[in-house]
């Protein structure tokens, strides 16, 4: 059994990725749980994408709609605000996480709410809403099954669609048995799900205030869309008197009809289903049906800064399907907690540092491998490797602003290498020297398994191919010498 460990999802406090990943890599149970979940989702997604003959056309359309919405974000946000207000919704704007928390608490105070039910929303984890509300005297009940597992287990989400995938059934059983007072509970997922249904039913029927997120905001109509599987979302959207929706400013779609594209790609990419069991859309307040007090909190919290650079802007096209993390060879090994952010995996590696304005999480752009698997599966065609390279360059530029950087061995080594690469005679001498030197460390199988000093940083985690007896260049020169030139 592993040591109890509480993951730190606050990017300002989390350790660098390689350090945080070590903890997970040493936990075989967690790695097994993550790998199993990834295998299942990936296989389902692949099958359903294959059956869709117009998949690439849908991806292109989805990508263009999202890019268009971001290029004209100001206009579409104003349209959303106008239409939502006309329909009786109250729209708030929050520049920072702190503003959003304060706005939500003020609404709750106005409503004299001391307890709330919640639909799963990653954005609320981003602004650390639950600990803030609890500290302010408001009890929070998560209603998504995975979120209940995490809340009752004092754990943090490790995935944006299946947040508790790192927990297996016997661990869920222990958490439920302890916190729901059910010592005889079995670890059958049916029994565990039934326990959650029973635990929440009375809360749904009696708690008059709910907080949720949004998958999409529709500028044309002022409507909000929420997709889900369990029905807990519909409960929170229908039963309470007051509903507060927290949404990032990037969630806007221009038209209602745009959903014909987004909702064809979302469920297939996220859970490998043709459609998620429930999708709800509502416009403001509808008399006689659902909450009669409706607030939308539009959250910036670093997003508007991401719009500035056209390469990085594509980060905000994301519709949070998690296909990139499901496909990522690094996420598969480490799970989500190592990323130190509510947004893990490849999308988190580009989103988190940018939300932090590059002041924190600088190790994340180096976490993925640039293999491109994430780009290939992304339903809105975010070129994640392209953004990763751009962000790595920004991290390096940042380092350059410190004087001591000029004495860093890595920097000096790179400068020296750059100089050598610019001078062919130096380059060839260096190659000959390296061949001689590395011969000492090359084993019979042609591989170098361990190097001393700085070289150890490479060979600690991977092998290096031994230096060839002749370089390509040497071979080419020899070839030209022995062969007659081609007839003209």
């Amino acid at each position: 059994m592993s040591v109890p460990y509480h993951p730190q999802l606050n990017p300002t406090l989390a350790p660098p990725f390689p350090q945080a990943a070590l903890h997970v890599l040493r936990n075989p149970q967690l790695r097994k749980n993550v790998a199993h979940a990834m295998d299942v989702i990936q296989a389902k997604r692949a099958r359903l994408v294959l059956e869709k003959s117009d998949w690439q056309a849908l991806r292109t359309a989805a990508s263009e709609i999202r890019a268009h919405a971001l290029d004209h974000l100001g206009t579409y946000l104003e349209q959303f605000e106008a239409h939502c207000s006309e329909a009786g919704g109250i729209v708030h704007w929050a520049a920072t996480a702190e503003d959003a928390r304060r706005i939500i608490l003020d609404i709750l105070r106005q409503e004299q709410a001391t307890v709330v039910i919640k639909i799963k929303t990653m954005t609320s984890t981003e602004i650390q809403l639950n600990p803030f509300l609890e500290a302010s005297g408001v009890s929070v009940f998560e209603t998504d099954l995975a979120e209940i597992i995490l809340q009752l287990g004092h754990d943090e989400p490790s995935h944006i669609v299946v947040p508790a995938l790192h927990v297996n059934r016997s661990q869920v059983r222990d958490i439920f048995a302890r916190s729901m007072g059910l010592p005889d509970l079995s670890d059958d997922p049916h029994a565990l799900t039934a326990a959650a249904r029973h635990y929440l039913r009375q809360k749904f029927l009696s708690i008059p205030t709910a907080i949720g997120g949004a998958n999409f905001l529709i500028a044309e109509t002022g409507s909000v869309a929420v997709v889900e599987s369990e029905g807990n979302g519909r409960m929170c959207l229908t039963l309470p008197r007051t509903l507060i929706t927290l949404a990032g400013i990037e969630k806007v779609l221009p038209r209602f009809q745009d959903l014909e594209v987004m909702l064809q790609v979302l469920a297939r990419s996220a859970t490998g289903e043709r459609m998620n069991p429930y999708t709800s859309l509502w416009t403001g307040v509808v008399p006689g049906d659902g909450p009669q007090h409706f607030h939308v909190v539009l959250l910036d919290n670093g997003r508007s800064g991401i719009l500035r650079n056209s390469v990085d802007r594509q980060t905000l096209k994301c519709i949070r399907c998690a296909a990139c993390m499901n496909a990522c060879p690094v996420y598969r090994q480490t799970g989500g907690h190592a990323y130190g952010s509510v947004y893990p995996g490849p999308i988190g590696a580009i989103l988190t540092p940018q939300l932090m304005q590059m002041h924190h999480a600088q190790s994340l752009p180096y976490a993925p491998t640039l293999c491109g698997a994430c780009y290939e599966v992304c339903p809105v065609k975010i070129n994640i490797p392209e953004v990763l390279i751009d962000l790595r360059a920004r991290v390096v530029d940042q380092d350059r602003s410190h004087l001591e950087h000029y004495f860093d061995p890595l920097y000096l080594g790179m400068r020296l290498t750059g100089f050598i690469f610019r001078h062919p005679w130096l380059f060839h001498s260096a190659q000959r020297l390296a061949r001689l030197g590395l011969r000492l460390f090359t084993r019979k199988d042609g591989w170098i398994h361990s190097l001393p000093s700085v070289g150890a940083e490479w060979t600690q985690t991977r092998d290096l191919r031994g230096f060839p007896s002749r370089t390509f260049h040497e071979r080419w020169v020899a070839r030209s010498a022995t062969q007659s030139p081609r007839p003209q």
Binding site: G74, A95, P277, V286
Partner: protein, 229 residues
């Protein structure tokens, strides 16, 4: 903390600054032209014959563990009664909520049975809805491609609550309401509706070890009565 009155302006200014001022005060006609130029090369019309579309819908609904029964228009009232009776026999379901706008004639046969009661929804209190064993509604349309039933919550489809709390849902769907692809549904929405619920099979979760479990909070049993017009 940012003063709230200025937060809106601050955020919009930052966005304007980042995307270029051209992105503001855009004439809607220009934006519409830009939108029209976006590529939409995906499938937007039915590719199957009507009979094949119905077969596809039935196949999808079965995959979601929903029950499908077919009947002709003449036999609709008898088929509704038979469904309710079967639910009563199998699980003792004895009270069914009916939206106020559901065509009364569809319930003519069901009304003659004493095994169960039909409760019209005239602002029923929550506890009564929670205690009911089922609900009978119609739908706006259905999309065969994904097995999705779409409610716009008209008087015949009922308010959202009645198709949420009861554990058993009988949805009466006419063959003419079935489209093959999702874009065809959007073509049917001349004006975007205020309230929409899409249902693709009974509520489910895969949060524990990716094992699909049917029935979490929403209705656990979905029955579709497909009426051939």
């Amino acid at each position: 903390m940012t003063p709230l009155t200025t937060a809106r302006q601050l955020i919009l200014d930052r966005i304007r600054d980042a995307t270029g001022s051209a992105a503001f005060d855009e004439p809607s006609i220009e934006l519409a032209a830009l939108r029209a130029s976006l590529s939409r090369d995906y499938i937007r019309k039915a590719t199957l014959a009507p009979e094949a579309i119905l077969a596809l819908l039935i196949e999808r609904l079965h995959e979601y563990d929903a029950e499908v029964v077919e009947c002709t228009h003449d036999l609709l009232p008898a088929a509704v009664a038979a469904e309710l009776l079967a639910a009563n026999l199998a699980a003792g379901r004895s009270s069914f909520i009916v939206p106020a706008g559901l065509p009364s004639a569809w319930l003519d046969v069901a009304r003659t049975h004493s095994e169960f009661t039909l409760i019209p929804d005239h602002d029923l209190p929550i506890d009564l809805i929670e205690d009911a064993s089922g609900v009978i509604t119609t739908a706006f349309c259905a999309v065969a491609d994904s097995g999705t039933i779409i409610l716009h919550h008209s008087p015949a489809e009922g308010r959202r609550l009645i198709t949420l709390l009861p554990d058993w849902h009988l949805c009466i769907l006419h063959a003419s309401q079935v489209v093959q692809t999702l874009p065809e549904y959007f073509d049917l929405c001349k004006t975007p509706p205020n309230l929409v619920t899409w249902i693709s099979g009974p509520s489910a979760t895969a949060d524990i070890e990716m094992t699909r479990i049917k029935g979490v909070h929403g209705p656990r049993f979905l029955h579709v009565l497909l009426v051939r017009d």
